[in-house]
């Protein structure tokens, strides 16, 4: 095991960096998509609602792998050729964003009615009401489910290896292919994914939850 890590540790570390980059970029895509679609589903204009609902249902109704292959192999036929790195984080981000949209929508709807009415009574514009009153409170509500969703997102990034992105999963597969040290290669990768989830993502989200609650005077 020690020999294995000495020989392949470097490559696994490189793969982990690619996974981390895919994770960060996919998270950015997911946040933007979730916010846009979540607000879109609550819009007063039906075309906006319809567009947001279509996006959410299509991306939640099909598999991430199908979306990834479609974006990477079929979109070029429509004249949109994406490099595999971009296709990777874009698919993962859009997929998770569709689930995130439901979290955004749900948490906005669960901000207490009195808050909406108070903003209305102060004759705030809808945009100002959303930005200053509703969203900050909704944000506190949506952070815990987002923590779980980000773990799902990290797991989702493992699929980008299948279109050739040299992430952690890809490196593990390569090492397995050339050495047949399957238990070591896949086992190490599993442990790294676990550590990324439990040592980085979960504690970071907990801290964010606490600091957000404090800023709203609720801690």
């Amino acid at each position: 095991m020690w020999d294995f890590l000495q020989t392949y540790g470097g490559r696994l570390a490189e793969g982990t960096l690619v996974t981390a980059a895919q994770f960060a970029l996919a998270t950015a895509v997911a946040l933007v998509a979730a916010l846009a679609a979540g607000l879109g589903r609550l819009s007063a204009h039906w075309p906006v609602r319809a567009a947001a609902t279509t996006y959410v249902e299509i991306f939640r109704g099909t598999s991430l792998l199908v979306q990834l292959y479609w974006i990477f192999y079929v979109l070029p036929l429509f004249g949109i050729s994406l490099p595999k790195l971009t296709a990777g984080f874009l698919s993962v981000g859009l997929n998770v964003g569709a689930y995130g949209a439901e979290i955004v929508r749900g948490s906005i709807l669960s901000v207490q009615r009195g808050q909406w009415e108070a903003a209305y009574a102060l004759s705030m514009s809808p945009w100002k009401r959303m930005r200053r009153i509703i969203l900050p409170q909704a944000l506190v509500l949506m952070l815990p489910p987002w923590g779980n969703l980000l773990i799902e997102l990290l797991k989702g990034t493992a699929l980008v290896a299948l279109i050739g992105v040299a992430d952690l999963m890809f490196v593990a597969k390569q090492i397995n292919g050339s050495t047949f040290l399957s238990a070591e290669a896949f086992g190490t990768a599993l442990v790294i994914y676990y550590l990324l989830a439990r040592v980085l993502i979960t504690p970071a989200m907990r801290r964010l939850e606490r600091s957000m609650a404090r800023r709203l005077g609720r801690a």
Partner: protein, 222 residues
């Protein structure tokens, strides 16, 4: 190659995709069956008298839930033969999916069991029921209906995760679409059809689960 949708080609590959759809459903169904049984065992295993067992199970499930399914599929498929268990892609795939989702279902069962009112346990105690009878006749019949919506959501989840089985060569939808693509150099129709088939199956199922949830809530007076 530019965008031109060919209906002839669609009809040509439709039978193969239909057969693959059956395989996908079979894979989802058997994976789910494993997950339902194993998940219950894992949930009950966390409620024994031995805190060490509870701790080990909880950490193991946490590990399974936080790591990618596709990697677990590879692990089981490639490491199995090295310890003397050669598994066919189907068996390895079903085991991986079953194990992965049992970790989620254990949590669903656990929540259902915890939601059974304390008085029910006390009544069993007062009637001198054995632990086995308490679970089999009183607790689980009340816990499982509570857990059904969660169980339904994971059925849809398993269904959508079956394309990952294509990585070890299970001939489900994704694998078939890949094969068609590499034989004919046409990816537009097979991949799009796979997406449409998934939508056509998972949207109604998700709708049914929501309906079932509403009916159950009413029946259980929640």
């Amino acid at each position: 190659m530019t965008f031109d949708w060919k209906w002839d080609f669609v009809w040509e590959i439709a039978p193969r995709l239909a057969a693959a759809t059956l395989n996908t459903l079979l894979a989802a169904g058997s994976g789910y069956a494993i997950a339902l049984v194993l998940g219950l065992a894992l949930a009950l295993g966390q409620r024994t008298r031995w805190p060490a067992l509870t701790f080990i199970l909880r950490e193991t499930l946490e590990f399974i839930r936080s790591t990618p399914l596709v990697l677990q599929i590879f692990f089981i498929f490639y490491v199995g033969p090295q310890v003397g268990i050669t598994l066919s892609p189907w068996v390895a795939g079903m085991m991986a999916i079953g194990l992965h989702y049992s970790a989620y279902l254990a949590e669903v069962y656990r929540a259902g069991i915890v939601a059974v009112p304390k008085g029910q346990w006390e009544a069993c105690r007062a009637l001198n029921m054995t632990t086995r009878d308490t679970y089999a006749r009183i607790v689980l019949p009340q816990a499982v209906p509570q857990a059904i919506p969660g169980m339904g959501n994971y059925l849809v989840g398993i269904f959508k995760d079956t394309p990952m089985l294509s990585v070890i060569g299970v001939t489900e939808l994704m694998q078939t679409a890949n094969a068609i693509g590499s034989e004919t150099y046409r990816f537009l129709e097979p991949y799009t059809l796979v997406g449409v088939i998934f939508l056509a199956l998972s949207l109604p199922t998700a709708g049914l689960v929501r309906l079932l949830e509403r009916v159950l809530r009413r029946k259980l007076g929640m």
